[in-house]
Amino acid sequence: MTTEALTVVGSRGSRTRRRIFTVVAHVLLVGASILMLYPLLWMLASTFRPENEIFTSSSLWPSSWSIDAYFRGWSGLRVSFGTFFLNSFVIAILSIAGNVFACSLAAYAFARLQFRGRNFWFALMLMTLMLPYHVTLIPQYVLFLNLGWVNSFLPLVVPKFLAADAFFIFLMVQFFRGLPKELDEAAMMDGCSPWRIYWKIIMPLSLPVLATAAIFTFIWTWDDFLGPLIYLSEMRQYTVQLGLRTFVDSTGQSDFGGMLAMSVLTLVPVFLFFLFFQRLLIEGIATTGMKR
């Protein structure tokens, strides 16, 4: 938020130019926002529509209003949607803890430490990103079945604590490498152990990327449905995405109103989470006062 103050260079003419620029930017942004949001607004409107109007009307204004779909959706399934929210939260929070911790450890090793075989392991790690998950689904299921983990959250959470998501390792490696090298060199001279450097220097400086990782982990586990679909069988364990999919069966009677209403509700926590965490993203470096 400090760029404005920093870049203003005095003269009156440039100040008006700035003001015009600001107005134009806002107009553009609002316009773009509407364009981006139109489909979502339509979805929101549809939750208040009569069920049989959903597929024929493209207007944003329902012919008659009803919030019935929300009640139907919330308690229409055998288990209240609140339970699904709780389950999704538990899985998401554990996943964030796992990802931020385990992936940053591995990323620190790849980005900052010298050891033999580093490039080899890095290449292997990237390879795990490249194989479509459909073909490892069954062997993995057999593996978790033999561990007795099927029908629990373990197959969804434990891999996160073992840094199974290479995306985040790669992401953090890129950011760690961007931090000035003099920092750890100086610390090393002072006799700091790698652990202390990681914990006291790298982590605090990496708040933006850690926040990014937290945001993505939250959103992706919140949106994930294949993992929960395969590993969770009892409805009491369902996540919101599984709950949503339960509303609609392409071959028989479905509750589209309830599905759309709950889709809207499931967006709310992610949206709030995002609003909150993006602060960290923005503050990050500015508040640590790091300059070169």
Partner: protein, 429 residues
């Protein structure tokens, strides 16, 4: 059994933690008298099914653990569970997949239970027959249904022509199409959808010609000549604007909400008798069903009563009998029948059907009467489709019909390609 054990062993052996698994970490598939039941469907079906399961455990003890999923998710999860050696005990099965699962011994033959735990005394013969693969009984039909044309009555009223009836022929539909075109209602609604790529429609048309989609030994039941005639007929319907254009038809991805009648593109389309209720729920117009068009006045024999879905038995040998007992309860018990209604199709036990008939709502009555009174429309039950039928339907017939509709192929060219490729697929499988 040994085969399956080997496979699991193999898959286990490949994973680094298998040692830990083999050394006695509790396996999740321990058997303790619990039956696992898996089915696809929406909440309505789930409510009914769970109620029957509760009723059964109240009266007979035991424990039934149900799980339901949407159609698209169902087959992925089922295949994963079965491949992992963790198959549920009672599996809802589709007509299309039963051959795949039965020929690979993923579900159990039920013949040994019939007459004992599995009572099928007044069960419809054709429905029993439909659950057989290679002469053995692999699935118990949960309801009969039949292909049917879904008709938007309201639209026909607006146009001012009579909706199709029992005697309507393809030519009659042509005439309706012209009436629709001159009336031009709702931004150009057409009389019929483009069903050139709809497998049951082609099947019905062939059967009226005395042919079949597939022969009993799993070969293509017709030749290039018929295929040309079929695709030409649709080309002329398309040209005359009787059926919807290619772009509209391609919006249909198989889900109910993307179909032509629901999107308001056409007033009729091929469907199934048991789906009337579900379609009505998402349409503002008054819907009904009628038989598929006849190829000429008096021609019949195209329809048959198809098992809408089955219960099959998978999982451990030890629980197979208990599973069969539950299925028997599910299809015979009058109280269960009251709960289930005709949501899965028309019950196959005559006694159950009679008890149920008076209690149904209007749309369910229509469906029941339709299936019960097919009369001269009814032909013999076709042999179970060969395993590759699904591939021919979903990746060949649909694609070629679209290529013709979009003008990328001529009907003649498309017909030739269809017959050649279908034969190749059948030979490979």
């Amino acid at each position: 059994m040994t085969l399956r054990f080997d496979r699991r062993q193999f898959l286990m052996g490949s994973s680094a933690l298998a040692a830990a698994g083999a050394m006695g970490l509790r396996p999740a598939f321990g058997q303790d008298g619990r039956l696992r039941l898996i089915f696809w469907g929406g909440q309505d079906r789930a409510d009914r099914t769970y109620k029957v399961a509760d009723l059964y455990t109240e009266q007979n003890g035991g424990d039934i653990e149900g799980e339901f999923l949407a159609w698209n998710d169902y087959w992925t999860k089922l295949a994963t569970q079965v491949a992992g050696g963790n198959a549920p005990n009672i599996i809802q099965m589709d007509y299309r997949y039963i051959v795949e699962y039965a020929t690979r011994s993923a579900i159990r033959p039920l013949d040994q239970f019939v007459g004992g735990p599995l009572q099928l005394t007044d069960f419809d013969e054709d429905q029993l027959e439909g659950g057989k693969v290679g002469g053995q009984l692999f699935g118990i039909s949960l309801g009969a249904n039949s292909v049917a044309v879904l008709v938007n009555n309201t639209a026909f009223e607006e146009v001012g022509v009579e909706p199709p009836n029992r005697d309507s022929t393809y030519d009659d539909y042509m005439a309706m199409g012209e009436a629709f075109n001159s009336a031009n209602i709702r931004g150009g609604m057409k009389a019929i959808s483009d069903a050139s790529g709809t497998e049951p429609m082609l099947d019905n048309w062939l059967r009226q010609h005395g042919l079949a989609l597939y022969t009993a030994d799993g070969k293509l039941g017709f030749g290039e000549e018929e295929a040309v005639e079929w695709f030409r007929m649709w080309a002329s319907l398309r040209e005359a604007g009787v059926c919807v254009d290619a772009e509209s038809q391609a919006l249909d991805t198989g889900a109910m909400e993307s179909t032509m009648v629901i999107l308001g593109k056409s007033a009729t389309m091929p469907s199934n008798s048991n789906q009337l209720v579900a379609y009505q729920a998402i349409s503002q117009d008054d819907l009904t069903i009628v038989n598929y068009p006849r190829i000429a006045a008096g021609a019949g024999g195209g329809h048959y009563r198809k098992p809408s879905m089955f219960f099959s038995v998978g999982g451990s040998e030890a629980n197979a009998q208990a599973a069969a007992e539950f299925i028997s309860f599910f299809v015979n018990n009058p109280d269960a029948a009251q709960i289930l209604g005709v949501e899965r199709g028309i019950p196959c036990s005559a006694a159950v059907r009679e008890a149920l008939a008076p209690t149904l709502d209007e749309k369910s009555q229509i469906a029941l009467n339709f299936v019960a009174n097919l009369g001269d429309l009814l032909g013999p039950l076709p042999p179970p489709p060969p395993p590759a039928a699904g591939e021919i339907d979903s990746s060949l017939l649909r694609t070629i019909s679209q290529e013709i509709a979009f003008g990328a192929r001529s009907p003649e060219d498309g017909a030739r390609a269809f017959v050649t490729d279908a034969t190749a697929i059948l030979e490979r499988a």
